[in-house]
């Protein structure tokens, strides 16, 4: 009898084991895929979120017959004094509880980035609901504009941005990386810049495009598709945005910080300057060594790169070792040019060490570092940088030299 009673009690216990206060039912959640933060003229912040619309996701195959395709996400904004405040106010409009666990990206608007990002980054790292692996971006303009978009290939533009940044098109920065850069005594932060650019024609009827090229002209509004685009890098000094690096300077930044993973280097041909040769990057490695003699600081940057020649517009003979060597040297120079562009901006325009050179210095000169760490920005700005590049083309694809008159 007692045993039966105990069994019954144990079974009853199961009902309460699932938890009462913190149960989260999937159909009661508003899953946030992307968040954007802008500042308002009154000094408040405006939170924009992309929320999954489960009905749009559930359909699977697209509906046939040219019916208007629905957007898979709901983009909604709310002003508030803090992000959590705005989120709470947003729940007046959103019928479900916001769930941040699947958030892919967070975009900081240009205004708030210029005011200082530390004002808004804390929510993302303090709250256990947001993961520290979300990708961080800074928008050219307002974050809300960028989020109010859709992707042609991915289900949402947030996922598209996540995939692109992982593919090495810009400088990949996760929340944890941003926090580390902001906490560093010498390194200044960088964030990939994101925007909308005209990208082909839209594939769905009746979908609003949110760029100047499409706006205002009602009949043209479906002629241009606005796709999220990585458009460079935002450089910070302290927690404030001070300027932009364009795509080519961003490549330089990737080279100098040893984060180059994929890419194509195009150099003019050795015989015909109007024709180009493109080399696909296979692997790259960068080492930075600082030197300090008590007054002067200089860096030796050694870059090694292996690539595959995959396109040759010109006709030169690749089997000729001299020509081959010249192409490799041209590649080296092309890399150095990009690195120099980036260095120039970092040293002379921003006067901010966005290249992590300070960390290399700290490791090599730990005694001296304590004396100069407070003046690091000035010292870094006047440092000489020697760049040594060893570029090798290891493969030439499926062809050797080109057939004459092909």
């Amino acid at each position: 009898m007692t045993k039966k009673l105990v069994c019954l009690l144990l079974i009853l216990l199961c009902i309460f084991q699932s938890g009462c206060w913190d149960r989260r039912e999937l159909n009661e959640l508003a899953i946030v895929l992307a968040a954007g933060v802008d500042s308002t003229p009154e000094g408040n912040i405006e939170l924009t979120v992309q929320i999954v619309r489960p009905r749009a996701f559930g359909g699977g195959a697209e509906k046939p017959g040219g019916q208007p395709k629905e957007n898979n996400v709901w983009v909604v904004s709310q002003e508030g004094r803090s992000i959590l405040d705005a989120q709470r106010l947003l729940e007046k409009k959103v019928s479900r509880e916001m769930y941040w666990g699947h958030n892919v990206i967070a975009i900081l608007g240009e205004d708030i980035a210029r005011d200082g990002v530390s004002k808004v980054t804390n929510f993302f790292s303090r709250s256990p609901r947001v993961r520290e692996t979300i990708w961080m971006f800074v928008a050219q303009g307002r974050a809300e504009t960028v989020l109010n978009s859709h992707s042609q290939l991915e289900i949402t533009s947030a996922q598209a941005a996540g995939f692109m940044i992982r593919a090495g098109t810009g400088i990949p920065v996760m929340l944890k990386d941003l926090k580390m850069m902001l906490a560093s005594q010498t390194t200044h932060a960088v964030l990939p810049c994101i925007g909308l650019t005209p990208s082909g024609s839209p594939q769905g009827v009746g979908m609003k495009e949110n760029i100047a090229e499409a706006r205002g002209k009602q009949e043209d509004s479906t002629q241009v598709h606005a796709e999220v685009t990585i458009c460079g890098t935002g450089a910070f000094k302290g927690d404030k945005l001070v300027g932009w690096l364009d795509i080519s300077e961003t490549r330089g930044l990737l080279w100098l910080t040893d984060q180059m993973e994929k890419g194509v280097i195009t150099v003019p041909s050795t015989e015909d300057p109007d024709r180009q040769i493109s080399i696909d990057l296979v692997r790259a490695n960068t080492e930075v060594e600082p030197f300090w003699d008590g007054e002067n600081l200089w860096f030796d940057v050694k870059i090694e790169m292996d690539g595959t020649l995959l396109e040759q517009q010109s006709m030169e003979d690749l089997t000729n070792p001299q020509i081959y060597r010249t192409i490799e040297e041209n590649v080296s120079r092309a890399i150095e040019r990009r690195a120099r562009q980036c260095l120039e901006k970092a040293q002379y325009q921003f006067e901010a060490d966005i290249l992590r050179f300070g960390e290399a210095f700290h490791i090599k000169y730990k005694g001296e570092w304590a004396q100069i760490k407070d003046r690091w920005d000035e010292i870094f700005a006047t440092a000489d940088v020697n760049i040594f590049i060893d570029a090798r083309i290891r493969q030439t694809g499926l062809e050797t030299k080109r057939a004459l008159g092909e």
Binding site: C20, W21, D22, P128, R131, A183, I363, K364
Partner: protein, 364 residues
């Protein structure tokens, strides 16, 4: 004899590993790093080395009074009245630190997983399970832990192994960048944790071979030290000096695991470590508090004390601090001194007095 069960050497080693490591894994790296910065891993090695004398102390004392627990031989060393008073102080000390463990246990679950659930729910559940286990005695606890510990170790190793792609050991450089003073300061908190090896003195009489207690203590400390080292070094290699500002660095380390977008979101492993380890640790200190008070008052059975002390523990766990910042402050600033005082300084005095008065079994 109050405790009828016997545990063998292996069970004792497992038990000591769990009851020291369980709560140290998640948060202590942050405290160490806040003093020693990226040299915190040196502090953790230092703490392990410094804890060896504490273990020696504990083992030496117990070998002087075979068959007696820490509470019992205090009376022999200090005399009936003074011994009773210090014994009582120690029982209170065990209850006090145990209530902190319960609070930490609830705090973490609330901070990271169950945000809206009242903390009392976790306190009551863990103490209720603990009470059940304590009533069944040391042997049951040791066997439960024999099942749990492999899972705990496996989870720790898995987390560290899977974070390898995120590790950047340059973040540990330059070595010895922090001043030696700060490295020593950083080692005091883990040392206070390692010194919990003192609790072994309460169960040495119940070992099948009490002579092996030295081996058990050193083995467990070496293992705990090693795990603590890889957790600290791993956290710093992942997050750099940010570790100092985190509440639970090892949780953050587990949260960033992402192998090919396929293996990710491994925080449940942290739950395994915390629930299993926390339960064993809390139950163990609960047990020695109950056993100690029964011995203090010369009861025939410790069972009548299980429930009252359990209720005290639940209440104390709420009362020890108003918020998580206070708990963190206690653990980083007060416990290092408080813990080391009770776990190392007083036992040292006891040993000196015992040797001076030529008490106990004379060494051969």
């Amino acid at each position: 004899m109050l405790e009828g069960g016997k545990i063998d050497g292996r069970q004792a080693v497992y038990l000591s590993i769990t009851y020291i490591m369980a709560t140290a894994l998640l948060g202590v790296a942050a405290i160490t790093t806040s003093f020693a910065r990226h040299d915190a891993w040196i502090s953790s090695i230092l703490a392990t080395v410094l804890s060896i004398p504490v273990a020696w102390l504990v083992v030496k004392l117990s070998s002087l009074f075979p068959g007696k627990t820490f509470i019992e031989y205090q009376e022999e060393i200090l005399g009936k009245y003074l011994g009773k008073i210090t014994g009582l102080i120690y029982v209170v000390f065990f209850i006090h630190i145990c209530s902190f463990m319960i609070r930490e246990f609830g705090d973490f679950i609330m901070a990271a997983f169950f945000e809206d659930t009242p903390i009392l729910v976790f306190h009551i559940i863990v103490v209720a399970m603990g009470a059940y286990t304590v009533r069944h005695g040391l042997e049951v606890l040791a066997r439960v832990n024999q099942i749990f510990l492999p899972f705990i170790i496996l989870s720790v190793v898995m987390i560290i192994f899977l974070t390898i792609p995120e590790l950047d050991f340059k973040r540990l450089l330059p070595v010895l960048d922090t001043s030696p003073v700060n490295i020593i300061k950083g080692s005091i908190t883990p040392l206070a944790w390692h010194s919990e090896i003192l609790a072994l003195a309460m169960i040495i009489p119940f070992l099948t071979k009490p002579d092996e207690s030295g081996k058990i203590a050193y083995k467990s400390l070496a293992m705990v030290g090693f795990i603590f080292l890889i957790v600290t070094a791993g956290s710093i290699a992942t997050f750099g000096e940010l570790v100092a500002f985190m509440s639970y660095p090892f949780l953050n380390t587990a949260r960033i695991i992402n192998i090919a977008k396929f293996i990710d979101r491994l925080d449940p492993l942290i739950m395994v470590i915390w629930l299993a380890g926390g339960f064993v640790k809390i139950t163990f200190f609960y047990y020695i508090a109950v056993l100690g008070s029964a011995q203090l008052f010369k009861l025939n059975s410790y069972r009548p004390l299980v429930l009252p002390i359990g209720i005290i523990l639940v209440a104390m766990a709420v009362a020890v601090g108003e918020n998580s910042i206070q708990i963190a402050h206690f653990l980083s600033h007060i416990f290092p001194v408080y813990g080391t005082f009770f776990q190392a300084a007083i036992p040292f005095l006891l040993l000196v007095i015992a040797l001076f008065r030529k008490q106990g079994r004379t060494p051969k």
